[in-house]
């Protein structure tokens, strides 16, 4: 019998169905309904801002990243997520710049996929917040026709945006913090409030997250830990000082849903151990409550996650799994 050339590989010779591109593109897929919700509320401005940040990310990855790295889908996720954290009326050149910074400095500078310490999308947003604080805190109102732009999306770079006719409003967190007024829960849950593009439909985000958790493409412990920590801490504080908001308001306002489900769970920048996931989530939850209630900013999700990102290597090291056959489970005769 003649011997043809066969594969000679080390065991195992078969592989499970999950692949890194499949995980990434599935996340992109689950972001589609979230983006559709943003478009439902904010019209063409949502398309412009999210599109610009995504193009910024993808173009930077294509130009400076390793060959073929666009196919893994991670640059697209960063762009979409960054876009969802931005105000609807942001000039698109800023969104583009944010995307370029997110990939260039947030990911490629660290060595590319898998090497970065901080969530690239949030690093991009932090950069924009520092560079253009005014534009990043201008929140248009939901009123007005669907097709109207929510700000000067087409402003020229560095020329200053033209004042447009859109009515600006405030976010529920801003209202709570600076004016002491509360937004009704139903509007929070379905996203009919002012805020960033992804501060909209909590229900949609939770459904998308549930699907990803079932597929094990995100660790359910991280959002669970964040939600429990935020709810418990804020409810305790609310009990002693009823002027502070209650747990439900804290959970459904601001970027907590988007952050907890899609950003904190970024595989690269979150702990690999199960115990670590609980600790990391609790840390984020505590930071969110601290910043929201006592910090200078109305919202603390971004800094909460970035802050805990920095601790991930330490959390991993401190929560290594117990080796089989050690500890009290191992019985030596």
């Amino acid at each position: 019998m003649e011997t043809p050339r066969f594969e000679l590989t080390a065991a195992p010779h078969i592989k499970g169905p999950d692949s890194t591109p499949r995980i990434m593109w599935t996340v992109v897929g689950t972001l589609v309904p979230v983006i559709l919700a943003a478009i439902w509320y904010w019209g063409p401005s949502a398309v412009l801002v999210i599109g610009a940040s995504t193009i910024g990310c993808v173009a930077t990855e294509r130009l400076f990243g390793p060959g073929g790295s666009l196919r893994d889908g991670s640059a697209a996720i960063t762009g979409l997520l960054l876009g969802l954290t931005l105000p609807p009326g942001l000039p698109i050149w800023m969104a583009f710049l944010g995307g370029a910074f997110a990939i260039g400095f947030g990911k490629l500078l660290f060595g590319g996929l898998g090497q970065n310490i901080f969530n690239p999308a949030l690093l991009g947003r932090a950069f924009l917040q520092a560079a253009f604080p005014e534009d990043l805190t201008t929140w248009p109102d939901l009123s007005g026709p669907w097709h109207a732009l929510r700000g000067d999306n087409f402003a020229f770079p560095l020329m200053g945006a033209n004042p447009v006719d859109t009515v600006t409003g405030a976010t529920p967190l801003g209202l709570m913090k600076f004016e002491g007024t509360h937004t009704e829960l139903g509007r929070l849950i379905f996203g009919a409030t002012g805020g960033s593009l992804g501060e909209t439909a909590a229900v949609v985000i939770l459904l998308a997250g549930g699907y990803l958790a079932l597929k094990k493409y995100l660790d359910w412990r991280i959002p669970a830990s964040i939600f429990v920590t935020v709810a418990v801490l804020s409810q305790i504080i609310h009990f002693f000082n009823p002027a502070k908001p209650d747990a439900l308001f804290m959970l459904f306002s601001g970027g907590l849903m988007l952050g907890a489900v899609f950003m904190a769970t970024d595989m690269v920048t979150s702990p690999t151990t199960t115990k670590g996931a609980w600790i990391y989530g609790a840390g984020i939850g505590a930071m969110v409550v601290l910043i929201r209630l006592w910090g200078g900013l109305p919202e603390g999700v971004m800094y909460g996650i970035l802050f805990m990102n920095a601790f991930v290597p330490f959390i991993n090291r401190a929560t290594q799994p117990r080796l089989f056959g050690t500890g009290k489970e191992a019985m030596v005769q």
Binding site: F6, A10, A11, Q333
Partner: protein, 464 residues
């Protein structure tokens, strides 16, 4: 655990590859005709290779001892067919190397009648005589590791054995060797258990069988003897349940301490096929010269369960099974999770070969890999609770010393981490290589230390 859980039990972590056993699980075991030539490597078992007793041109009968055990952890090799020794030399070995092998030209048109009763009958033998007969019969574990069985039957006196665990998990995808043995020869399995229990002096035996083999569980229940304490424990299907440490944990709830052996938690684990073989040698009087092999996979034209003379070459077995398909891409000895790919059609079936799995271009692993995205799936898969992600990063950096701090030595190379890795990083392979590299480093360090010591002694002498 005294009451068995009929709904099945299992261990923590592990993976769920498709079991792919439907190709052969209902096919009765057939006997393959004798090939024209057989190749018997002297190293077919864990431990020291056997010492050759024949010369080129010698005439051998079926069952004749052609190589003797070299020391305690070693077993003899017997001719699996009558014929003439054609050559003694280097020959392709299933482990990928060339190994010293006795090649026998099988006598044509011979009825292949074996010599009568080479192994004594079991009745009236003392445990020591049983152990000697098992060693003389060349019996080793047939589950893949090929560890000499008589050594397992001789635990140290200070370690009392409470349980005999019979491994019928067969968690490797595709393979149905143990499955068919349990379905077709359940009495033989029980007879083997009786011999082992008597030899070890244990009172309790549990047969662990995964629940994808209900007919095997039924057959073993139907033939279960009532005068000894033997029970059948159904196991929830999961890989690597057939690993000794996992099976012990599943059945007894105990964890074998890191670096220790099953006997340290009062257990001896033996594979179902090996136990049937113990019974078989006492029944037929023949040493271990043939074994059951599953020939399977989408790349083989006629998947089969076969009794094959030990030493039959890969090409002859495949030819008997109708050859391979045009898209066959990889031939594996054993199953796809822990088996080894074979490049050479002359490679012989040895005592430890559980099956031949032929994979096509559709099943073989993709080549493309991605960077580690720290998803942690490997941590959830590892049955001994290692951190393969971290170990992989250290291996890539060549930091083998640090890998010991992450318990590299406890890795069983089961391949679960590689199987789940979405980035297709060959973790298991990297750990095998790291283990070898680490061993070499340590040997070199030890050699250097002893050289320095002797230099220092010489210096000392000079001064004196």
């Amino acid at each position: 655990m005294d009451v068995l859980n009929l709904f099945g039990v299992t261990f923590r972590h592990g993976v769920h590859p498709p079991d792919s056993k439907s190709l052969t699980e209902h096919l009765p075991i057939r006997r393959m005709p004798f090939p024209d030539r057989i190749a018997l490597p002297l190293r077919q078992h864990a431990g020291k290779p056997a010492r050759c007793l024949v010369e080129k041109g010698d005439r051998v009968e079926r069952g004749d001892k052609i190589a003797e055990a070299d020391g305690y952890v070693s077993v003899p090799i017997h001719a699996s067919a009558a014929g003439t020794v054609a050559d003694i030399g280097w020959w392709p070995h299933p482990d990928g190397s060339m190994a010293e092998t006795v090649v026998i030209d099988v006598q044509r048109h011979s009825p292949q009648i074996p010599r009568p009763r080479l192994v004594p009958s079991w009745e009236g033998l003392t445990p020591d005589e049983v152990r000697r007969a098992v060693q003389d019969g060349g019996v080793v574990g047939l589950g893949g590791a090929a560890f000499p069985t008589h050594v397992k039957l001789s635990p140290p006196k200070d370690l009392p054995i409470e349980w005999l665990l019979v491994n019928g998990a067969e968690c490797e995808p595709y393979l149905t060797t143990d499955h068919r043995t349990m379905v077709e020869y359940p009495e033989r399995v029980h007879f083997g258990i009786r011999i082992m229990m008597q030899c070890l002096g244990v009172k309790r035996a549990v047969i662990g069988v995964e629940m994808n083999k209900p007919d095997a569980i039924a057959a073993l229940e139907r033939t279960r003897p009532t005068d000894i304490d033997v029970t059948v424990q159904p196991l929830i299907v999961k890989y690597p349940q057939g690993a000794e440490k996992m099976l012990i944990n599943v059945v007894t709830g105990r964890e074998v301490p890191s670096g220790k052996l099953p006997m340290h938690v009062g257990t001896v684990v033996q594979n179902v096929g090996s136990i049937a073989t113990i019974a078989e040698i006492f029944e037929t009087g023949l040493p271990l010269i043939e074994r059951v092999v599953t020939v399977t996979g989408p790349g083989v034209r006629r998947p089969s369960n076969l009794i094959v003379p030990v030493g039959t070459m890969l090409g002859d077995v495949l030819e008997f099974c109708g050859g391979i398909t045009d898209d066959a891409a990889e031939i594996v000895f054993g199953g796809p999770m822990m088996g080894s790919s074979q490049p050479d059609m002359r490679t012989p079936i040895t005592k430890g070969t559980t099956g031949i799995t032929v994979l096509t271009t559709r099943e073989v692993k993709p080549k493309k890999t991605y960077p580690c995205i720290k998803c942690g799936h490997c941590l959830d898969a590892c049955p001994v609770f290692l951190n393969p992600s971290q170990l992989g990063l250290l291996a890539q950096a060549g930091r083998y010393d640090e890998m010991q701090d992450y318990y590299l030595q406890d890795c069983m190379l089961c391949g679960s981490c590689s199987y789940v890795c979405p980035s297709n990083i060959p973790l298991s392979q990297m750990f095998a290589l790291s283990k070898t590299a680490l061993r070499k480093q340590q040997q070199a360090a030890a050699a250097q230390a002893s050289a320095q010591k002797s230099d220092a002694e010489k210096e000392g002498e000079k001064v004196a």
